[in-house]
Symmetry: D2
Subunit: 139 residues, 4 copies
Amino acid sequence: METELNVEKVQALLLRGPYHQWLGLQVLSVGKGTIEIKAKWREEWIVNPDGRYTHGGILAALVDLTADWALFSSTGRGVPTIDMRVDYHRAAMPGDLTCRGSVVRAGKQFSVSEARIFDAEGNLLASGRGVYSTPAQKS
Amino acid sequence: METELNVEKVQALLLRGPYHQWLGLQVLSVGKGTIEIKAKWREEWIVNPDGRYTHGGILAALVDLTADWALFSSTGRGVPTIDMRVDYHRAAMPGDLTCRGSVVRAGKQFSVSEARIFDAEGNLLASGRGVYSTPAQKS
Amino acid sequence: METELNVEKVQALLLRGPYHQWLGLQVLSVGKGTIEIKAKWREEWIVNPDGRYTHGGILAALVDLTADWALFSSTGRGVPTIDMRVDYHRAAMPGDLTCRGSVVRAGKQFSVSEARIFDAEGNLLASGRGVYSTPAQKS
Amino acid sequence: METELNVEKVQALLLRGPYHQWLGLQVLSVGKGTIEIKAKWREEWIVNPDGRYTHGGILAALVDLTADWALFSSTGRGVPTIDMRVDYHRAAMPGDLTCRGSVVRAGKQFSVSEARIFDAEGNLLASGRGVYSTPAQKS
């Protein structure tokens, strides 16, 4: 499969998803087995109105989708998640997030990919990995 | 710690969170180490406009928060997630979801709890577990 | 696939593995999507000569293999693990262990299964789950 | 806490554990938040006498202990695993294994660390991560 690796193409595919739009995703860079995506903070992300930190489920979604789309150079599309793990490192305060994904191993049936989520100051907020269904596509 | 276990109390605490409001959560029942929560489907949950199935990050958020609040009878509040795992069993089509959580082990520092997410027909869509920070509270 | 569910058959298949022999496995019961296995403690399991508790890697192996063989009624054999998660609940002191596995969801390509490990007093020591590769077999 | 980072010290501490001895561990290098350990293959590791590949539980133990001891520069000792995840990438055929660990985040109460397991040809066989209990020690 020939895949033209460019930010615009991934951005267009990614943004077809309503939840991706809601997360305010912007693709910053796409490489071979890597991706960098920005997510735009919104008030609805908050889990606790006192502490005002972001819900773990938002960070989980970002880990999932970033790891998934880091596989783009071999998959050419978003692929189904089989399972995922997320570790939470520190509270995510209001502000846009930067998500960096990289492939651990691209396999013929399953692929493992990981992602790290950072705040504007470069603090690591969450990280994790998932297994994705990546069967060879028929041409 | 004495905790009055009732649906109204958990509902009020849970719904303080803007993301919980956005997810349309409604507490159906609360027991000792268990909880049942309904989530109201919305268009923004969709990951793929063709397939119209729900984003894995929504299901991850539901697993996380349901497992977390299943600990309510021992914690009396939402507690920080240390890490979480989610397994995806089948595509979640549009429709409200039912989330059932139960405590695996309530510990003095960490507690493990799990959750399962079902569609209206009772199909298991996703399941998972998390570790939560539950240090003894000072009175 | 017709599978005769009996303890002797699973015991014979399971014990073909040298590591399973080393773990002193004994199949106690086999059901539809469930299994119970005993593991015989040995001195080499210890991680710390002072505390004398069992290495987490032994418990991880027991979770993996118990969840795997809980799938026996649908697989008829041990199947490859795609990934696994283990939670540690309390230190495992010297003594034989009882391992109980049950299927979460048997799928056509992947299956999720879980296991819990208990000591002789019935204390829950560790628990976890794995995803297994279970493609339909050609007859 | 001042910690003298050297291979001999970690090797001596690590090898106190009977299971670590049984795994034939040899510490190759220790850095700030990193470690490299070799494990010596033995016949008992095999899960399947036909395929002769290594049991996933052996790889899980190696991921767990390698991630754990990658924390040595901040912990000065082995620390309790709270939970762990392992992904299996390809069958591990007979032969010694090289295990590389690195800290994801060293925290005041919990730390996350990861490890990758390679065969002699440098193929990635398994990888994973764990959360470890690392409370500040009283001096």
